[in-house]
């Protein structure tokens, strides 16, 4: 807990700074003057043609799912990378390289399959 405390303190400091600035700015500026052109969603200045709450196809959910899988695989490599030098110095280099070799092969297979099945093509 003691090592997280400064992070939390700084987080609140930053949020207080940002919120304070926004509050001061809303205080100092001119009063709101609504008008239909200003309230419209901005589209290069011409009158908007689409309703602001029209639907948008969110295609990147597949990328997001693939990201989670690969990110976890990469995080698994971190402890291996940290202890790599110790194992080499102990003379067990072949073991640790072989163990990671299997993992990397699976990783490459996954990536290859992903590219092959066109999951990464963005249109």
């Amino acid at each position: 807990m003691t090592s997280v405390l400064p992070v939390i303190v700084l987080f609140f400091l930053v949020v207080a700074f940002g919120a304070g600035i926004l509050f001061i700015a809303s205080f100092l500026g001119p009063k709101k003057s609504p008008n239909p052109a200003k309230d419209m969603p901005y589209e290069c200045g011409i009158p908007g043609t689409e309703a602001p709450d029209s639907k948008i196809n969110v295609k990147f959910y597949l990328t997001a799912i693939l990201f989670i899988i690969f990110d976890i695989e990469i995080i698994f490599m971190y402890p291996w990378a940290i202890t790599f030098l110790d194992y080499i110095k102990k003379g067990e280099g072949a073991y640790i390289m072989g163990a990671m070799g299997v993992f990397v092969l699976l990783f490459i297979f996954g990536l290859f399959w992903e590219v092959k099945s066109k999951a990464l093509d963005w249109d």
Binding site: V7, V14, I21, P52, F84, D86, G93
Partner: protein
């Protein structure tokens, strides 16, 4: 936070100073960016307000403060206002965990009629660092990926299709390049065998040494920096951090030719400036990480170090002067990389979106894997 009043207050002051450093570097960087782009494109840039136009951003900030408050009619007020505030968080929290100087040891001293000696009576150890976290890299990677939330909040909150498209692009891009970023760091972790930034910089102090089957070759005039051990990793890390900061050639989230201004289309005044502070804070963190991982952090080549008289001053003054010198060295490197960010922005054109995703997934990710394998073989051969 600390053992006694002295330590707690010093730690709080350091944290505030580092946060203010991030805030106040923005006017300077915006000035450098505008003057630099003018220099590159053969025009003048801002040169009216103050000497060399240096007061331009001060004038801009005052103008931003006096702008009308605006909320899009169908916007979600909470998300719309929270997004610029949240944009500050990742940069500030990540920057505070980076050690910007070596650890200084302060001997016990007298102040206000009291002896200050720390808990164990041996004095204090300080580094110019907001807080020290022993899993440094993992913390910084985790915190900086929070940046995607602010963009998504901005895109959804302002209920404009351009904002939303920009936000979606931003999040898809950030998560795609985070893979290459994370994987390119595995090489550097294998070389140093630690997650702590301070230990990494300490390991880069000596002269450049290559090992080959148990034998060692030393090149005395070059420093032992990460770039000489892992050049592919450095290139991958640098380009992935460009994408993480949403800087050109990866600034698709705000591609002004296609999306008006992307996720901050509906923002103006100080809310927009807060997004800029967040972006420059991100750049600051990325430059500092580049310097720490690959360019020796606060170290200068050893033969240069021995020439400096600051090594021979004893006591607290010497320790503080030494740390100050190291801080200036690290800051110089950071400023150089910030200039590289600006330089690249005004040199390279923007990618098309599918090219961007292809580069991240099909080029940089495999190359990062190759880097891991090559580094593993390299270390294996070096140790014999």
């Amino acid at each position: 936070m600390g053992a006694d009043k002295f330590e707690i207050s010093v730690n709080l002051i350091k944290m505030a100073v580092i946060f203010l450093m991030m805030i106040q570097i923005v006017p300077i960087l915006v000035w450098v960016e505008r003057r630099g782009s003018a220099f590159i494109q053969n025009r003048f840039g801002p040169n009216r307000v103050g000497p060399l136009g240096l007061m331009q951003l001060l004038a801009d900030a005052v103008k931003f403060l006096f702008k009308e408050e605006f909320l899009p009619k169908k916007g979600v007020a909470l998300l719309y206002y929270a997004a610029p505030v949240m944009a500050l968080v990742p940069g500030a929290l990540a920057l505070a965990s980076l050690p910007l100087s070596p650890t200084i040891h302060i001997e016990p001293f007298h102040l206000f009629g009291q002896l200050w000696a720390g808990v164990d009576g041996k004095g204090y150890d300080f580094a110019f660092q907001g807080f020290s976290i022993n899993v440094g890299i993992v913390y910084v990677l985790g915190i900086s990926s929070l940046g995607a939330y602010s963009l998504l909040m901005a895109g959804w909150g302002s209920s404009n299709k351009y904002s939303l498209m920009g936000a979606l692009r931003a999040s898809a891009q950030m998560i795609s390049y985070e893979l290459a970023l994370g994987l390119s760091l595995v090489g550097i972790l294998m070389i140093y065998g630690t997650l702590s930034f301070g230990d990494m910089m300490k390991m880069q102090e000596a002269a450049l040494t290559y090992g080959f089957f148990g034998q060692k070759f030393t090149i005395p005039f070059l420093p032992d920096w990460g770039i000489f051990h892992n050049p592919i990793g450095m290139l991958l890390f640098a380009s992935a951090s460009f994408a993480e900061c949403n800087r050109l050639p990866f600034d698709l989230p705000e591609a002004e030719g296609e999306l008006v201004a992307g996720f901050h289309t509906e923002y103006g005044g100080f809310k927009m400036l807060l997004f800029y502070i967040g972006e420059y804070g991100h750049m600051l963190v990325a430059s500092a990480l580049l310097a720490i991982f690959y360019f020796g952090g606060y170290n200068i080549p050893q033969w240069l170090m021995t020439l400096l008289p600051v090594n021979h001053i004893p006591g607290n003054l010497g320790a503080i002067l030494f740390a100050l010198l190291a801080h200036v060295v690290l800051l110089t490197k950071i400023i150089f990389f910030l200039w590289v960010f600006i330089w690249v922005r005004w040199t390279l054109p923007r990618f098309r979106y599918d090219q961007l995703m292809d580069l991240g997934w099909k080029t940089m990710l495999p190359w990062a894997l190759v880097n891991v394998i090559l580094t593993a073989l390299w270390i294996f051969c070096a140790q014999g």
